[in-house]
């Protein structure tokens, strides 16, 4: 009840400073709006990009054989590095830091179903490839398994666009696709995904088959590339170093010859993206915080005026035994109310803007702006700090008033 009366009293008092109060609250509201909206868009964009990155493969590295640039064991540089499936198996056996690894043999070929013919990327891979490259399979189906590899089964998993191209909307599991004149059974279909990068085409246009079957069909001796993920992110650099050592020994290149392999290090990309976003968010939040601080200065001025208006009343309170701490807290409480009002305006505006943006096609490209709990907590803490800073000095002045002088003030 006392608090409500205090707020009403504050609002009545501020009526004498309508223009100043309105512009100050608007300034603070705008600062809050800037911080929230910018961070909400930043969060949305980062999540969007992260989702796409995960769809391609989280914390993985892709390795292609390249050419040597250093002499090694009497061999000259400029030699082509050749990696066989057994080399990839040796990596799995000899590098304890490795979590998952899969070779990949790639061919481009025609697929046929009845009269329909489609060209696609044909990847021969190990079962680990599904988890490494985030191949989520539509319900009812599956990715490749160890038995498929061992038995060199003629089974395939279709990218979702390949599936639509060959079968339209018809059921597809268990159906036969002709490849190189041989029948292959469809065991799974990729769930649609949005990936931020690709190599040899998007996964939607790719089909996967057991690497052993691929070898049999296309006569591969060498792998096109391999994909791996360390057991833990912190083991990744060591795992990568060991890859050079093991392959260098087996394939005949100097482990220090970084050019012998072409490595697409997604973990490094993720780290860079994280720091880029952090910098981006700090910059966005910084500009919002500056606006908020300007609003805070306005609030501080308003509170100085308010203390001046209420000097006589503060004098009465002191004469009646109000301690300085109580006077200080009273002014601070009023400041918090004012800041909360400005903050609420900003929260409401930013919430409205994110809601409106969600109704547009924009989230397809920039992600869905999201006022995350972290953004809410951060903004609330910022507003609290602004209130504390803006209110402290007027409150201190009020608490230090000389009661005798304050009583005669009119």
């Amino acid at each position: 009840m006392d608090a409500l009366r205090g707020i009403i009293d504050l609002l009545r008092g501020l009526r004498q400073q309508k223009a100043r109060t309105a512009t100050t609250l608007l300034g603070l509201g705008w600062g809050t709006f800037s911080v929230i909206v910018l961070l909400a868009f930043g969060t949305g964009l980062e999540e969007h990009m992260h989702e796409q990155a995960v769809a391609f493969g989280e914390s993985i590295a892709l390795v292609w054989p390249s050419r040597t640039t250093m002499n090694f064991a009497g061999l000259g540089c400029g030699r082509r590095v050749n990696i066989e499936r057994e080399d990839v198996a040796a990596l799995a056996a000899q590098i304890p830091e490795l979590g998952r690894i899969s070779p990949e043999c790639i061919a481009w070929d025609q697929l046929q179903v009845g009269t329909k013919i489609l060209r696609a990327t044909i990847s021969g891979v190990a079962p680990a490839y599904g988890a490494l490259r985030t191949w989520r399979i539509e319900p009812g189906g599956r990715f490749l398994n160890e038995r498929d590899i061992e038995d060199r089964r003629r089974v395939i998993v279709l990218g979702n666009r390949v599936r639509t191209g060959l079968f339209g909307r018809d059921p597809v599991l268990g159906r036969t696709v002709i490849l190189q004149g041989l029948p292959f059974t469809v065991v799974g279909v990729l769930s649609p995904k949005r990936q931020d990068s690709d190599y040899s085409g998007q996964d939607a246009d790719r089909i996967c088959m057991p690497v052993t079957t691929h070898e049999q069909v296309y006569g591969d001796r060498l792998v096109s590339n391999f994909v791996f993920r360390a057991r833990r992110a912190d083991l990744h650099p060591r795992a990568l170093r060991r890859v050079y050592e093991v392959l260098g020994r087996r394939c005949g290149f100097d482990p220090d010859d970084r050019q012998a392999l072409y490595v697409w290090d997604r973990l490094e990309d993720e780290r860079l993206r994280h720091y880029a976003f952090l910098g981006f968010e700090i910059m966005l939040a910084g500009s919002g915080i500056l606006t908020m601080l300007v609003g805070g200065v306005g609030i501080g001025n308003l509170m100085f005026i308010r203390v001046r208006q209420r000097t006589h009343e503060i004098g009465i309170q002191m004469a009646l035994g109000a301690r300085p701490g109580r006077i200080l807290r009273g002014v601070l409480a009023e400041t918090f109310v004012l800041v909360a009002m400005g903050g609420l305006v900003g929260f409401f505006l930013s919430w409205s803007v994110t809601m409106v943006v969600r109704l547009t096609p924009a989230p397809e490209t920039i992600g869905e702006p999201r006022i995350s709990p972290a953004v809410t907590v951060l903004t609330t803490l910022l507003l609290g700090s602004v209130a504390l800073l803006a209110g402290y000095f007027p409150a201190r002045r009020a608490a230090r008033l000389d009661p005798v002088r304050a009583l005669v003030e009119r």
């Binding site: 009545r12 009465i316 309170q317 004469a319 009646l320 035994g321 109000a322 009661p403 005798v404 009583l407």
Partner: protein, 227 residues
């Protein structure tokens, strides 16, 4: 109750120092009713401010109810004002946006009394000063005499042993003034120490003790026989 020994109060006005009180020594017992008289600028209000712990003496000792006031910090002085002193001012000094009841309850709020208890006690005090039916009125809706009675009720909120009144009838007509004087006398009769700064001869005549100041010095301290 009140012991002043060689109390002085100086104000620095630029390079010069002005003495508002000079070596005032005074003893006031419990339940005394004294009038402090003197022309304008004689130091009456300064003395009242010092006695009321609104101001600290520049020199000398002041003991109130056994407490050395000069050595207390600001929060402790506020505590004394709240618990041991009730103020009645010439201009009433009521909080304009609070009702009579809330004004009376204000010192209790500062003393940490719970809201229900505050309301009960403030209501009883308003009944006592004859304003039980005005508890919801704001100061602007009350006459000067009524406002001063609210101020007296407020001064009694925490049942302080000392009442300090600064020209309590100065802004009132003679009838309202007499009512206030009657109230102050009652308080003294109940055992409270009442010190009144006044120009009002009627009020001064009814006090049992006259303390007179001139140029910051105590020039008369006389007690009249009761009756």
């Amino acid at each position: 109750m009140i012991h002043l020994r060689d109390v002085s109060k100086y104000y620095d006005m630029g390079p010069t120092r002005v003495g508002a009180l000079r070596d005032v020594s005074l003893e006031v017992s419990r339940a005394e009713y004294a009038a402090i008289l003197g022309p304008s600028g004689s130091g009456k209000s300064t003395l009242l401010h010092v006695l009321g712990c609104l101001d600290r003496p520049s020199a000398g000792d002041y003991t109130l109810d056994g407490l050395q006031v000069g050595s207390l910090d600001i929060p402790a002085l506020a505590e004394i004002r709240n618990r041991k002193i009730g103020f009645v001012f010439q201009r009433f000094h009521l909080m304009p946006r609070l009702t009579a009841l809330e004004n009376v309850a204000l010192p209790m709020r500062f003393a940490g009394v719970r809201p229900a208890e505050r309301e009960r006690r403030a209501g009883a005090l308003l009944d006592r000063v004859g304003l039980g039916d005005r508890r919801g009125h704001r100061p602007a809706e009350l006459s000067g005499g009524q406002q001063q009675r609210v101020a007296i009720a407020r001064a009694l909120a925490n049942e302080p042993p000392v009442i300090l009144a600064d020209e309590p009838t100065g802004n009132l007509d003679s009838q309202s003034g007499n009512e206030i004087i009657d109230l102050l006398e009652q308080l003294s009769a109940e055992g409270r120490t009442v010190l009144v700064v006044t120009h009002d001869e009627t009020l001064a005549r009814r006090a049992r003790r006259i303390i007179r100041l001139l140029d910051g010095k105590l020039v008369e301290d006389s007690t009249r026989e009761s009756g």
